[in-house]
């Protein structure tokens, strides 16, 4: 970025800034800052009369704010991608949330978020359509010997026709995130309410739990017959998912409680968990969604007993900037791998979110596409 250099570069950039800033849609009630302009720049402002420096820390870059005669600091970032971004302020070396924004969990902390308006923001806008509910659930987990916490989306109409049963999607967040990610910055309820009201997706239940068992999650105990300790985070969360979460959901919600009506998806770490768990438990899930978390090869699909027989959908998505700057470790070319998987006879889809990176706008779009393919076959 040009702004990584100091001084004069900043001034040059300043002169080019388009002065059409508006408050971010994720600001606290009545708060003007942070603001966002049509270039996607974020402008922060905070009174700090005795500070030596204040910086806006967003997208891995720190931008200097400038103090006015009243002790109020103001400054803006380079243009950001459309959609949601985590950020923070730095005041004389202290990294703190911006008191102007609402707060979101990511980067292993509750902190500030800002929303750059997107060309396609209509698909996750809050509209006057029939609304589902996000329900907050506490339940006891044998695997963890602890109370756990999740969110469950029930579609509009769930409380009206009490004879109807629904398929279920288990939807996981990424590393350093938690179960609040999808219902909050993920806009899950808005995406689903809009899709269902337009007849573009079947109504289904979505369970959003905490998969971060090795990081901030509680310690786990082995279930009877399980290997212990688990080989990795995917297997660790798998015990909880299979032995606690799914039975709790099937007991408390009107589900279609079989593998044919069960999907799992996740973003980044949650996508890797989805891959590992759906390959290991081929009788439990038949729909698979991996957002920015790898892909499934023909060989992997063949080595997982029952996978090819039971699977009804493998959906793989990435942000276009991720594919341009692919990080090592994902292995292979996910587009090519998914193409071959489709040629081998699996109902596979590959979706690219244009002009977005490893960030929530890619995953909102991933859910929007994936949801339309779910429980149709």
């Amino acid at each position: 970025m040009v702004l990584a250099a100091a001084g004069i570069t900043c001034v040059t950039s300043y002169a080019q800034v388009k002065e059409d800033f508006k408050p971010s849609s994720l600001n606290q009630p009545g708060k003007e800052y942070p603001m966002v302009n049509s270039e996607g720049r974020v402008r922060a402002q905070i009174p700090a009369p005795d500070a030596t420096y204040v910086k806006l820390d967003i997208g891995g870059v720190k931008y200097d704010l400038v103090k006015d005669e009243n002790g109020v600091w103001t400054g803006e970032s380079a243009p950001q991608d459309e959609g949601f971004h985590y950020y923070q302020l730095n005041i004389d070396g202290a990294s703190v949330p911006d008191p102007g924004s609402l707060y979101f969990y990511g980067a292993s902390r509750w902190g500030s978020g800002v929303e750059i308006p997107a060309k396609d923001e209509d698909f996750y806008a809050l509209k006057n359509v029939p609304h589902g509910q996000i329900r907050e659930i506490y339940y006891y987990s044998k695997t963890n010997n602890a109370m756990r916490h999740c969110f469950v989306y029930t579609p509009a109409g769930y409380d009206q026709d009490l004879s109807k049963r629904y398929p279920v999607l288990y939807l996981q967040h990424g590393g350093g995130e938690n179960e609040y990610g999808w219902p909050s910055q993920g806009k899950t309820a808005q995406i689903m309410d809009n899709l269902i009201s337009e007849g573009k997706a079947k109504p289904f239940i979505i369970v959003m739990d905490n998969g971060a068992w090795t990081m901030s999650g509680p310690r786990q105990r082995p279930a009877e017959g399980e290997t212990w300790p688990p080989k990795n985070w995917a297997e660790g969360f798998m015990n909880t998912l299979i032995n606690d979460i799914i039975p709790m959901v099937d007991e408390n919600f009107r589900t279609l409680a079989d593998g044919k009506h069960r999907a799992m998806a996740g973003l980044s770490m949650g996508g890797m968990q989805t891959k590992a768990i759906t390959l290991a438990k081929t009788d439990v899930f038949s729909y698979v969604g991996i957002f920015s978390g790898g892909s499934i090869s023909v060989e992997e699909s063949q080595n997982a007993a029952g996978f090819r027989e039971n699977n009804k959908l493998v959906f793989v998505s990435f942000g276009s900037r991720e594919l341009e700057n692919r990080r090592p470790g994902f292995g292979g070319d996910p587009k090519e791998e998914t193409k071959k998987l489709k040629e081998s006879g699996i109902n596979a889809y590959f979706y690219v979110s244009q002009d977005t990176a490893h960030e929530w706008q890619s995953w909102r779009r991933g859910l929007y596409q994936f949801a339309q393919l779910l429980f149709n076959n």
Copy 2:
């Protein structure tokens, strides 16, 4: 407070601090600070290597933190009352949330909260008992011509016996707070789950909406036949409550949809709204709870047509420190007024929360007492 003076007073206080600090139960996952000791002191800590000063701002007093050789600032407050407290940090003049705590809405902002363990904390502890759900609801309001947002608590068993219908409590927050207050720092679900599982309260539905219509709430339009503009905030919220919220709840939940099975309660501003609305709409509510928000006189009960005939309960509560330092404007002596109301034939109760002030521990206890009296007669 002794600590309102500076310098040497602080040092004296320091020497007396009991070194049994533990992380607050409201800290972010994995965060050690803020900590709380058995005296109820709050100790904050934040790295701010280039700061000139850092203060802990709690209970209307700012306490100086002290910097160590690594640029980490640490310091503690005077003892606080048991229960929940809003607070913030001040770094070189910037008032910001503490990155160590979870965030709560109060004082017209999302900001830090800390929990002082209470002798009676068991009544709002999260336990392995049958759990209700907190449901997040978006709905269209004609009165506001806007989408609105509320939370609805449904008791354990709501989704099991689908023939059962429930009474409803409308439960309001205070000034500078919003609909997140009761489900979050108010511990509503934990209080109700525990009470119901012990057979101490009847199961009922609780609706927690945003009553702050003149402050952060959306602008309102008159409903047909309503006076406009409303005379005050109570009447303003009344239009929304009567014309939008109650019909929405009765349509979407299995309620007992009449005045005999409907309660309203609130804290502070929400208590004043409760008083004004239940005196004005005597056919809509028959149970009344006013927490730290005034009381109802015999004369007021007589002047409200239908109130005395329909009312089944008037519950009035305060923190003991509020009664000791009663603020002007509440008018009269609430204990004496409630005693006279009872003598006049109304089923009236007066409850005092010991050693607490105008704060959430008083209101958690108020709900705990009030809930046991609801829908019993």
